[in-house]
């Protein structure tokens, strides 16, 4: 605050700062309230009565809620593993090769991201029903349909992230590796993959959060025998807001925030030089 503000120091303008603050209040207040009231000792959830962990206990004891939570975590893990692999491979194909129909593939890859989620949800639901996707499979196979749906809309995001990362890769490194005698797969393993890693990590974390946060696709691909967290909470909400819902939601928020923080931490800028030396 010692230097006088320049004409373009917009961030120093009072009204802009106020606007920013107000927006943050708008964004966070509802969530903060939701979390705060998960500790509220009152069923009606409006006025603060006292601190309690009661509702967390109730959530913990609600077997169907726990089952739903576990299922959603497992789905997220499986979907992340598959999405990251597929997405990275496809990104490599697009980055490295020219081939007929490339534009079509790139277009198709963008589709899951742009079409309204509801269209994709109902399409998957109809599809699984039509091809007679087996139901009543043992856990975790019964989560297959949901995982497949999640992968379908997650992996394009992974592909985008990995491709963005590969854009900065100096192809001369691959050529140097081959020049020194390494074959295709050796080069991939020793040279390309290490470079790609930050992109893989970012993509995986993105896929995980997308999967955990999803409602629509999960809603349409869950069956009577698969209980998922969003669907379970949805039915609880329709019955009326109770602090148990708040408690369950808070836990999910914590998990997501944790993942995001890890993602940010792992995104430390690459300290090594991958462009040619110009010093």
């Amino acid at each position: 605050m010692s230097e006088p503000a320049g004409p373009l120091d917009y961030d120093r303008r009072l009204w802009l700062r106020a606007w920013l603050a107000a927006t943050f209040v708008f964004l966070y207040a509802p969530i903060v309230i939701l979390i705060a009231f998960s500790f509220n000792d009152s069923r009606r959830n409006i006025v603060w009565r006292g601190f309690t962990l009661d509702y967390y206990a109730r959530a913990w004891n609600d077997t169907s809620l726990i089952e739903a939570f576990t299922n959603s975590i497992v789905i997220a893990l499986l979907a992340t593993a598959i999405s990251t692999t597929i997405g990275a491979l496809l990104a490599l194909a697009l980055w490295r090769f020219r081939f007929p129909g490339k534009a079509a593939v790139e277009g198709a890859l963008a589709l899951p991201i742009v079409i309204p989620e509801i269209c994709m949800g109902v399409a998957l639901m109809a599809f699984f029903s039509r091809i007679g996707w087996p139901t009543g499979l043992p856990w975790p196979l019964n989560l297959g349909a949901i995982v497949a749906g999640h992968v379908a809309f997650c992996f394009p995001f992974v592909a985008i992230v990995v491709r963005a990362r590969m854009a900065g890769f100096d192809r001369a490194l691959e050529e140097a590796s081959k020049d020194l005698g390494a074959g295709e797969w050796q080069t991939l393993r020793y040279i390309t993959l290490p470079y790609m890693r930050p992109g893989l990590v970012a993509g995986a974390l993105l896929a995980m959060t997308l999967s955990l946060d999803d409602f629509v696709i999960t809603f349409f691909t869950s069956g009577p025998d698969t209980l998922t967290f969003p669907v379970k909470v949805y039915s609880m909400v329709r019955f009326g807001a109770t602090p148990t819902v708040n408690a369950a939601s808070t836990v999910l928020i914590l998990v997501t925030v944790l993942l995001t923080v890890i993602a940010v931490r792992l995104q430390r800028p690459e300290r090594t030089i991958v462009e040619g030396p110009r010093a």
Binding site: P30, I31, L89, L90, F97, A123, M125, F127, V151
Partner: protein, 296 residues
């Protein structure tokens, strides 16, 4: 970039898994729905594809058309509101000192990283008749009342606004849920903007508001277009927000589609509606591409 022929084994290893998934779990389901939109129910679970256009005609029935229109208006209103709110936010963050930028961006993004359902649910507590918005308004009303009381003017009792279960709630809900989507592309464009344009405008005598309207907004067009698309498309197809926050006359297209596939069990009609929604989405994307084209 090499031709795929140079390393066919590597190429196919890279391409096949993704291509299979796109084909099998994305394009095939969409194709199925597309076929269904031309089909008829032939029993409680069977659908026969007869090539009929009935479904589309039914979908374009005035009732549904009205719903489409309303969905579009609510989505458009919400998008416009989001744009107005997000622009100063993006401006503030892009002009913030470098060390604060990542933090501010993270703070904007963080709410986005929570489940859609949870965020919508949180809004209920705010918008209820006995919710926090009304509490805040009541507090302000009381303050004003106290002040005017001193002047001898009495105010009537505070009437809480019915915010929840209305179209207004849906709009507010959409803005709340999708705000980060608008901030990010705006920020990206503003961040890259050459400051010397602004300085030149000021140097030539324009005030800040003029500079903003004549220089910043036009230059930020790509970001604006991206942000609008990122909010408008999900808003058009939303059904959760309207379901939890909307009133009996807040049925949107998303809700109708959902009902066709669940309760009403009229998949062909639902399919036709889904595709109409998709065509509208594509039209919006094409429009944006066209507008973006003229920028360069």
């Amino acid at each position: 970039m090499e031709s795929w022929r140079e390393q066919p084994v590597v190429f196919w290893t890279f391409l096949l898994p993704g291509a299979f998934w796109l084909l099998g779990f994305f394009l095939a389901p969409l194709a199925l729905i597309w076929l269904y939109s031309f089909g008829e129910r032939a029993g409680p679970v069977d659908i026969v594809v007869t090539g009929t256009r009935e479904n589309y005609l039914a979908a374009l029935d005035p009732i549904y058309l009205g719903l489409f229109w309303k969905s579009f208006w609510i989505a458009a209103l919400a998008t416009a509101t989001t744009l107005v709110i997000a622009f100063p936010v993006a401006l503030a963050v892009s002009f913030a000192p470098a060390r604060l930028k990542p933090l501010l961006l993270l703070l904007v993004i963080l709410p986005f990283w929570t489940n859609l359902l949870i965020r919508t649910y949180a809004m209920i507590a705010v918008l209820r008749t006995r919710g926090y918005a009304n509490f805040a308004l009541e507090a302000i009303w009381d303050l004003v009342g106290a002040g005017s009381g001193l002047l001898g003017i009495a105010l009537q009792a505070f009437e809480p606004l019915t915010l929840l279960y209305s179209n207004a709630a849906v709009v507010i809900g959409i803005v709340y849920v999708y705000l980060p989507f608008m901030v990010l592309p705006l920020y990206a464009t503003l961040e890259r903007m050459d400051r010397s344009y602004l300085e030149a405008s000021l140097d030539l005598g324009a005030g800040h508001l003029r500079t903003f309207m004549s220089v910043v907004v036009p230059l930020a067009r790509p970001g604006i277009l991206s942000g609008v698309i990122l909010v408008l498309v999900p808003a058009l197809g939303t059904f959760l927000i309207s379901d939890l926050l909307g009133g009996p006359d807040s049925q949107l297209i998303g809700n109708v589609i959902e009902r066709q596939f669940k309760a009403a069990n009229n998949w062909p009609l639902g399919a036709a509606m889904s595709f109409l929604l998709m065509y509208v989405t594509f039209a919006a994307l094409a429009l944006r591409a066209f507008l973006a084209e003229r920028d360069v």
